[in-house]
Amino acid sequence: MANRYWVGGSATWDSTAGSKWALTSGGAGGQAVPTSTDDVFLDAASGAVTVTVNTVQSCLSLNCTGFTGTLTGTATITFYGNLTLVSGMTLSSVGIRPSATSGSWTITTAGKTLAGMAFGLNASTATWTLNDALTTTSVIQVVNGTVNTNNFAVSGGTFFSSSTNTRTFNTGSSTLTFTSGGTVWNCTTATNLTLSGTGTISLTSASVKTFIGGGIQTYPTLNQGGAGALTVTGSNQFADITNTYASTGATSVLFTAGTTNVFTAFNLTGQATRVCTLGSATAAQATLQKSTTWYMGANSTNGGNNTNLVFTAGGGIDYLSVSYINGTGATASNNANFLNFF
């Protein structure tokens, strides 16, 4: 293990050592190209230069403290230690991939937007802890190991963790925001996935989107944050479900027929003129379960094919249009209003 400081000016980080690398900050170049056991430093002494990565490169930790230049390229830097980016640098297009197979490491991105983030593509027992908010333009994957968001905001296009690999995603109280349409959350195979946290998963796309829950019973709050209809698949359990898009417009939340989704709280609501459609994705019932009566609100609409829902005020939600929903785990069938609506 050694240190490698970039002293190569504006040049390409590739397999040619040249005079690009030094053992000390601002030192004499000519050292070997860093490997996965070497810590790489782009620092103040590197200058306001452009370092281009067009072929896959490796290092232990990548530390850019003090760097004022640009890190760019079409390839990926696989790092096996810590990542430290700084606000004074420019990060453009290059991929940065945490690839440690063991140990505990930190990720500091300093407000930079990454192209994507795949934690533990190789078999790994490593733990990565965020030191600040993480934003990527594409997919965030938890493939192996443990990811601790450390309560910081996490944002990306989509989330993917579908496999039988042993992996843990500790979301703490983070707001996790995913912006793409289509399959925006994919935990199709949730075997050996531990998910914990008290924050919120917010899905903001204006396009139709699908949350493939994979049957996980420990989801935090799920938020519909965009105009595109949200379909939830699988029989999952959530802390809560909300709809912040209600302040902007109408939207929909649908559940796959035949599934049962359990909620500790249920605060999915629309607003006047901005009704939220709640229903099954097809013409057969989906079951929603919570421990209290399923009051749908005085201004909600019974679209038919519902059971055990009470269309009066009392549950704190309103302005829903509901069809093909079976509410269970409640005492609705004992409510005096029940027969008035069914």
């Binding site: 430290t84 991929g95 707001t175 912040t244």
Partner: protein
């Protein structure tokens, strides 16, 4: 030094951190501007996300 900060926004709670050198010479106003820039950039990303690059 680390400054953890958060903003309660219409898009949810945004929590982030500034990692500054212990001997930084930034004023309080400059630090507040850095925090605001972070949340502004986040809101811009959430409300108008860039198109994801291919193959990353």
């Amino acid at each position: 030094m680390v400054i953890v900060f958060e903003f309660d926004t219409p898009y949810g709670l945004f929590r982030d951190a500034l990692h500054l050198a212990d001997d930084h010479n930034l004023s309080d106003a400059e630090i507040e501007a850095m925090k605001q820039e972070r949340v502004d950039n986040w809101i811009a990303f959430i409300s108008n996300p860039p198109v994801a690059p291919e193959g990353v």
